[in-house]
Amino acid sequence: MTSIEEVADHLPDPVVPVGAYLAGHGLSPRRVQIHERYLGFREIRLDPHRTWPDQAVAAAAGLSRLASRRADVHYVLQARTMPVAAPHPLNPLQEVRRRLGLTHAVAVCVSQQACASALLAVELAGRLLTQDGDRDGLVLVLTGEKAFTTGAQIISDTGVMGEGTAAVLVGIRDDSGDRMLSYTSRSHGDYRPSAGSLADASACLHEAYPDALVDVYLRAVAAAGLRPADVDWVLPHHANRLAWQRVTRRIGLRDPERVLLGNLPRFGHCFGADSFLNYATLRRSGSLRRGEHYVMTAVGAGVTFATSGLGATFAAMVFRH
């Protein structure tokens, strides 16, 4: 039984106002206003002086159990959004493994589902530990990355990406941690209409987005043996506020305020880390009570410019605290 044992987060200190940031990227005042007023982005965190390994190590340092259970960590999984993230043969993940004193563990990057790779990594973590048969074994999942290029900084008229990293300890004990009750994902290879452009594909994805997300969400809730009204919290990915408005009214929550969007204006969309950053915030608030159910969501889209191809994965994962 896969469970989340602990989550720690790291947000860089430098705060960047989204308005000035987008204007610096050449967006018109009107489009800046759209991102701020309608999509809900206010500021992001960016630290050009700290590398991804610096940020990942900082996040892992916040895990209270890591030091005492280092020997139990079998795997380090980096859940990555960007398809190419370092000049070969530089290997930031193996650097993190070494800096954390985890050279006895197998480290591997899980990718190609973009921002949905993080939930996939949690799922794979449970499977690997189950295969190993060590019920005390742990996997360290790391997610969140550097916004190093325009395509990784702004998703035009959709989202603004920020830097924020989550370190997640995953185990398989059934007597500790937050138990994963279900995981559902669905990948769509290409939204491109025949002979269509990338703009057509984006419009196609935008149109399909609410239905696809609601579908995996409700299937995950049902697979967990729950009714939609049984869900106490939604820990969302930070697509944008408008996208969530289109989804929230269709997922049967008792209280729409339980979709935790408070971090979206503060951090932007931190790649695969959003749901885990929201988890850390919820835990710190003391609002998550024993036995409550929550759903993490993710959507990972990837554009291949050479072909104008656009694929996406929609995923949802249900836990009991």
């Binding site: 370092a86 070969h88 530089l90 899980v110 990718s111």
Partner: protein, 300 residues
């Protein structure tokens, strides 16, 4: 995972007790196509190397031939024909794609598969053994009917960084392992170990070779270029072959495919392995021919 838990392999899974076997290997090398670089890709690569405080790629970097992972999956999916569809596909590579692309989504689109596709990387040359573990060892939960493990090597770099031989591709190459419940080679072991010292590699491989030897045909070993010569000598194998240099991930699988004839009953067993001394990773697998019901009941 419980029965109510769809898991990443989708709804078309079979019971976890149905193990996947190696049914086929398809592989190819690529001469490099002359594909123009979209401005977005040039910008991406330039920003990437700058973010690591490296100098900009020289202008000629964006000229000449390149083979993307997309090109590779296009070609091998075509060759696989009906076997190109999958429930689970794991792409494994230690060299980067020649474009910031999405070959997993390409695979799903090409094959109209409703399955799951993702990549594993940044683990050096042993990464395909992790891919094999993930594809075969569903652990608890429903497993796929057909899984693919894609080994991918891509030779272009867009900077002046020196690349050590263990992770340097000199050939654009791909190999896809097709895993099905009724394949002729049982995947008896798919292991990936960390913290393995060079002097311990031989012991692990000897034990693996012993496990492959079940009294049938002798074991054939396929060594990756990282397996130390002294370790090769410790395993009791009847014959051996070595992966071609310059193909860090695909090399062992192409070598295996040259030895193995799926249609010939009893072909195998095989021990396939590679070692990365820098990272302390040892990947290996033991592949045994599936004994037919008739031969299994033949007693002395």
């Amino acid at each position: 995972m419980g029965a109510a838990h769809p898991g990443p392999t989708g709804r078309r899974g079979v019971e976890p007790s149905t193990p996947l076997r190696l049914a086929r290997i398809e592989h190819a090398t690529f001469p490099g196509t002359v594909t123009p670089w979209p401005k977005e890709d040039r910008r991406y690569v330039t920003d990437l190397v700058r973010s690591f405080d490296r100098p900009d790629p020289p202008p000629h970097s964006f000229a000449g031939g390149r083979t993307t992972f997309r090109d590779m999956v296009d070609e091998l999916s075509r060759r696989l024909g009906p076997a190109a569809s999958f429930d689970l596909a794991v792409l494994a590579h230690c060299t980067p794609d020649a474009e910031p692309g999405w070959p997993a989504y390409r695979l799903l689109d090409l094959t109209d598969s409703a399955g799951t596709a993702f990549a594993v990387s940044d683990q050096g040359p042993t990464v395909a053994f992790t891919g094999l573990r993930l594809a075969t060892g569903a652990g608890a939960g429903p497993g796929p009917r057909r899984a693919h493990v894609w080994a991918l090597d891509q030779r272009r770099t867009l900077h002046g960084e020196a690349v050590p031989a263990r992770v340097r591709a000199t050939t654009d190459a791909a190999a896809v392992l097709v895993l099905e419940p009724d394949g002729p080679l049982e995947i008896a072991t798919a292991g990936h170990l960390a913290g393995v010292r060079r002097e311990d590699v031989g012991d692990v491989l000897r034990a693996a070779a012993d496990s492959a030897d079940t009294g049938g045909p002798p074991v054939t070993a396929v060594w990756g270029i990282g397996v130390p010569p002294e370790a090769r000598g410790t395993a009791a194998v009847a014959s051996e072959c070595c992966a071609e240099a310059g193909r860090p991930v695909t090399g062992v699988w192409s070598a295996l495919s040259a030895l193995w004839t799926p249609a010939r009953p009893g072909s195998g067993p095989y021990l396939v392995s590679d070692y990365d001394e820098d990272l302390g990773y040892l990947g290996y697998c033991v592949l045994r021919p599936v004994r037919s019901a008739a031969s299994a009941s033949d007693g002395p």
